[in-house]
């Protein structure tokens, strides 16, 4: 019987494949990789592309498309942590900026709230003064 290794392909949102395989091809960051059982431990990034898994029977070949991710190889097991979307530093950067901007906008709104509070306090003060004045006038009028 041919030697097999356990292959897991998972993404953050779901499990894509799990089972034994005799061979696996993946698009590594430094070039395509063909992995057979008892490979040396290896950790690499993978590029968007197709992952081919040759299952135990040997005839069957499963082709999966991944949009990048990480690949971990242990002698008896291979794990592919697939990304759900293509990653690029500038896209991440833009998303981060956006999240920051939203927060800043919120904080700016908060400032408006404070201004509102200050304004209402001033208003209350002014009203109190007016009341005092009118009371004084009444007294004087009497």
């Amino acid at each position: 019987m041919a030697m097999t290794m356990h292959v897991d392909v998972v993404s953050a949102e779901e499990e894509i494949f799990a089972g034994p395989a005799t061979m696996l091809f993946a698009p590594g960051a430094m070039g395509d990789l063909g992995i057979m059982p008892r490979h040396a431990p290896l950790l690499t990034r993978i590029k968007p592309g197709e992952v081919r898994i040759v299952t135990e029977q040997g005839e069957e070949e499963i082709v999966l498309y991944v949009s990048g991710g990480m690949l971990e190889i242990q002698p008896e097991a291979v794990t592919i942590l697939a990304d759900t979307a293509q990653r690029a530093d500038d896209i991440d950067e833009a998303a981060a900026l956006e999240a920051k901007e939203r927060a800043e906008k919120l904080l700016a709104d908060q400032k408006d709230d404070i201004d509102y509070a200050a304004a209402s306090a001033e208003l209350a003060e002014a009203m109190a003064q007016l009341q005092a004045i009118s009371r004084l006038r009444k007294k004087v009028g009497r």
Partner: protein
């Protein structure tokens, strides 16, 4: 006969409310099932990536990443995961209470605090509180996508990289069961490596391209997956809490309707009795 018209109107309005709460209960029940499925679906990834990190901690990497090193705490970051909508019982209130307790403890130690919020309830709460909100994401919907959270997470990771914060926590509701949700605070950074028995032989991964890049990528994904897991779990909690709250509301509405009907019937009965006695006494007078 216009007896108890007000009571009848009131009954009508309570019945309408009950209809709404019942509908919401059913909607929440079906959404909850889907949210639970999503929660289970995201578990394998978190588990696998944890395994890989476990292996990494056991190997003897040539490069020690800052995400795995403890340092003196001067400022902490919190990612608070809350729901976008209300009407889900005390779910958010409990979560905020737990968060506040922890914030106060840090504050007492003279440690500064940065907050990132996911979900609009948390945003408005921490805004009112006057916390330093560094990033915000909301309206992720019932099926949150991990892509929508990258921004918020990256803000915090950058802050950690630049030494602005020295620890990062995520706060969310842990899904225990439909009836029970548990406000939880988990430490994201530095990654707590479990104490393991040392392996006799020394081994290390081959890294392609560079150890630093690969490990950074891996750890970033790890943190992201944990936050995603927290968000998904929180959605499941939200739906189940809403279902329970709406069920209670429907039951209460039922009780109120019963009481009002009783009052109405009593009033009606009293009116009839009075009328009869009036007729009888009128007849007697004649």
């Amino acid at each position: 006969m216009a007896v108890g018209k007000e009571i009848r109107t009131k009954v009508k309005s309570v019945q309408n409310t009950q209809k709404i709460t019942r509908a919401m209960e059913m909607v929440a029940a079906s959404k909850m099932r889907k949210a639970q499925d999503r929660m289970t679906a995201s578990r394998p990834y978190a588990q696998k990536i944890r395994n890989v990190i476990h292996h990494l901690a056991q190997s003897h990497p040539e490069y020690k990443h800052s995400y795995m090193q403890d340092r003196e705490v001067k400022r902490v970051g919190f990612i608070v995961v809350s729901s976008d909508r209300g009407l889900c019982g005390g779910l958010n209130a409990n979560l905020f209470r737990t968060t506040l307790k922890s914030l106060k403890e840090w504050d007492a130690k003279g440690v500064g605090i940065d907050v990132c919020t996911i979900g609009s309830k948390g945003t408005s709460f921490f805004k009112r509180l006057g916390s330093n909100i560094t990033a915000e994401t909301s309206h992720l919907g019932d099926a949150p996508r991990i892509n929508d959270m990258f921004g918020t997470i990256k803000v915090m990771l950058d802050a950690y990289d630049n030494g602005v914060i020295d620890r990062l926590y995520v706060v969310y509701n842990e899904f225990v069961s439909t009836m029970a949700q548990n406000p939880t605070i988990d430490q994201l950074l530095p990654i707590e490596a479990k104490e393991e028995k040392e392996y006799a032989h020394h081994w290390d991964y081959l890294y392609e391209p560079e150890a630093k890049e690969v490990i950074t990528d891996l750890l970033t994904r790890y943190v992201e997956s944990l936050v995603y897991q927290a968000v998904v779990e929180n959605v499941a909690c939200e739906q189940s809490a809403r279902m329970v709250a709406m069920k209670a509301a429907s039951d209460n509405a039922g009780d109120i309707i019963d009481e009002l009907n009783l009052a109405y019937n009593k009033a009606r009965q009293a009116a009839i009795t009075q009328e009869i006695s009036e007729i009888v006494s009128g007849a007697a007078a004649v």
